[in-house]
Symmetry: C2
Subunit: 419 residues, 2 copies
């Protein structure tokens, strides 16, 4: 037991030592490394799938749910898509070295604030092998070492993927110690990772609300929280029916399992009679179960009575909650109470309502007349998405590569001293 | 006991409710409020000094050290300087509302990333009444509510200052609940503050390394760490004597009690004979005790033998450690082992050494040919300093008002849905 503890720490320390080399890599070297990783994943597909078969068999034996088995499973097509994703990261612009501030003091001291890698990024996530590859590629693209702690159910698959990526680094003359997995050290390893202040510079949990909550609460390493999305759309008194219907249906149905899908629709009382019947019908025609308050029940058909629990629920499926509110204040109060501060949108043609909504809603992304599904790093034009931050420190909303960097001030002088 | 616990939380919740109003204040309203606060502090000077006398008497009775009594003490002149500091913050530019990114997607959706207040800032600090006023003013200037938890030894003084500032807010029609103190709830209140996730948006500890370490370790609220400074100056083989001597003496002597003062000088072996004698003499002439390794002992006079403990020590006084290293690699290795990642400077005329130092030293501020004393928000031109961050997340180095803001994405559309 003591030996495994030492070893998880040893792997983290190796990542830290490697980080010095990785931080200094030039753009072209990182591109080459990522292209080598993509090629290696394709070349090693048979081994990776074989390792995955072992994990899946264990999962079946231990009663892993079919949904989790599906997320865990890698066939040749999925391995190819992992390699393709790495190849896409390879050609993204290098976020390191950007000059973010430049000022010369009266005494001639020249100050520049530049983007630098964090150093060592840690990630704790669930049994999803795509996250293993995704985070490793994004970390390397931004000049960081990575320590990975995936779900135990994916241990063999992750080990195979990490071994492949490490060999790819070696093949282009870069230290393989930049990519580490501590899966084999189990919960104790995860705990060590969360307490590795001074070794791990930032920890990015990815997965269920419960996992993220555990990491946020337990970790003494700074965390970027990527949280759940209880996302709201408000239909203001002036909401045009066409926009309201299209946006609500799109935000719920286009991909219901993700965090930027809408979960609750709040309808201004002045528009309820006009909007609730056609919008609930359109949702139901798309297979959505509508949970409504008593007002919605009166205006719609086949409405499931909503309970207070519905307002808190991230359905992540073809269900939606709908409530009639007296006015914009009522909508804002509901959002304050139940929002997870991810994304909220208002449908309105009234500029005053739009402006109030934009100013007063305290969420990472606040929208007017838009589907909430646009809260996404790729849609925002970042080229890659590290996650969607629901915290206010460091990064908020969709995170691109820039959010995997820190900054450093460089000061160039000629003997300046302070008076 | 249970009642006090409820009340600390109640004060935090009031700050949170108030934050909605404070976040929407216009620039001119915040200026007016801060000017009212400055005027009120001057007007209430007698009451504030009287409250301070009570704290000082208690401190004397309980054996508070003279140094801590001095930091705690407020006379009329010091109260005036508190008011002056608030007046200076009043005229600083508003950091809220700056547009940090602006992009229009192909579908016409207009995205803007804007600076917004955090909401509620918490601060845990020691018995220094100036921090009470300073942090409250900076929080308000950046549109935040504040919950203050100062040292118990300053409880009466802080209560008087907070009461004065709250009255000033009321006098200009702003809710006084934006400024809260939880001093009276003692350690239990501090603990509640550190665990008030969802109420407190960011916690800024200020004070000793021990205090900061406790907050960083215990808090589940995101923390901005303002850390200690074991600051290094490297004298490269090419270091000009004049620059080296002036910069080392300035960095140590100009104000030895602060975190950007130098603590350790690392001398390239190729320059040791040339530089150690005159620089140790100059330091000693300024009253500095020099702790040196065996090489420094041979070259200088009256050198106190350095122990490994010296390399870790932030003297914060007229003492300095000096060590001869074989080369730049030796200096970089020493810094990696002992630096607190605050500020390091190299004195050199060799561009290659300068570039390596700037690239490889992993500190908030990395300097060439400059006194480390310039690591300071006012010197950098920020107009105010919230503290100096030694962490990599969110803010690094001197923090101005901008670092007390978060961001929010605003999206303005016309019915856009995702394909």
């Amino acid at each position: 037991m003591i030996e495994t503890v030492v070893s998880a720490r040893d792997r983290m320390l190796r990542a830290k030592t490697a980080a010095r080399e990785i931080a200094l890599l030039r753009d072209a070297q990182k591109t080459e490394a990522l292209e080598a990783m993509a090629a290696a994943i394709s070349a090693d597909a048979a081994d990776i799938v074989a390792a995955n078969v072992v994990d899946i068999s264990r999962g079946e034996a231990s009663g892993l749910s079919l949904a989790l088995q599906d997320r865990l499973r890698l066939d040749h097509a999925r391995v190819k898509s992992l390699a393709d994703a790495v190849a896409l990261v390879a050609v993204l612009p290098d976020p390191v070295g950007r000059v973010l501030d430049d000022r010369t003091l009266a005494n001639g001291l020249h100050l520049q604030k530049v983007a630098v890698p964090f150093g060592v990024v840690g990630s704790i996530y669930e049994a999803r092998p795509n996250v293993t590859v995704d985070i490793a590629a994004l970390a390397l693209r931004s000049g960081n070492s990575i320590v990975l702690r995936g779900g135990t159910a994916a241990e063999m698959t992750n080990a195979a993927l990490v071994a492949t990526m490490r060999r790819a680094l070696t093949s282009v003359g870069i230290t393989p110690e930049a990519i580490q997995t501590i899966d084999k050290f189990g919960r104790e390893g995860a705990r060590e990772l969360m307490h590795a202040r001074g070794i791990i510079d930032v920890l990015v949990p990815r997965g269920s609300a419960e996992l993220i909550s555990t990491v946020v609460t337990e970790s003494t390493v700074p965390v970027i929280e990527t949280g759940a999305g209880v996302v709201h759309i408000v239909l203001d008194a002036t909401a045009p029916l066409e926009w309201a219907r299209e946006i609500v249906v799109n935000a719920k149905v286009q991909r219901p399992s993700v965090c930027n899908a809408v979960e609750t629709v709040l309808v201004h009382r002045g528009a309820a009679e006009r909007l609730v019947p056609p919008i609930t019908s359109a949702l139901q025609a798309s297979g959505v179960v509508v949970h409504g308050d008593t007002d919605v029940q009166k205006l719609g058909t086949d409405i499931v009575p909503a309970t207070p629990e519905d307002w808190k629920t991230e359905y992540l499926g073809l269900e939606i909650a709908m409530r009639v509110v007296d006015d914009l204040d009522g909508a804002l109060a509901h959002i304050r109470e139940y929002s997870t501060h991810h994304t909220e949108s208002i449908i309105t043609t009234d500029d005053a309502s739009a402006d109030r909504f934009l100013a007063e809603v305290d969420s990472a992304v606040v929208m007017v007349n838009s589907s909430t599904r646009f809260t996404d790093g790729s849609e925002f034009g970042f080229g890659a998405e590290v996650g969607i931050s629901t915290q206010k420190l460091h990064a908020r909303g969709p995170m691109g590569l820039a959010e995997l960097t820190s900054t450093k001030w460089l000061a160039r002088g000629a003997g300046q001293v302070r008076a």
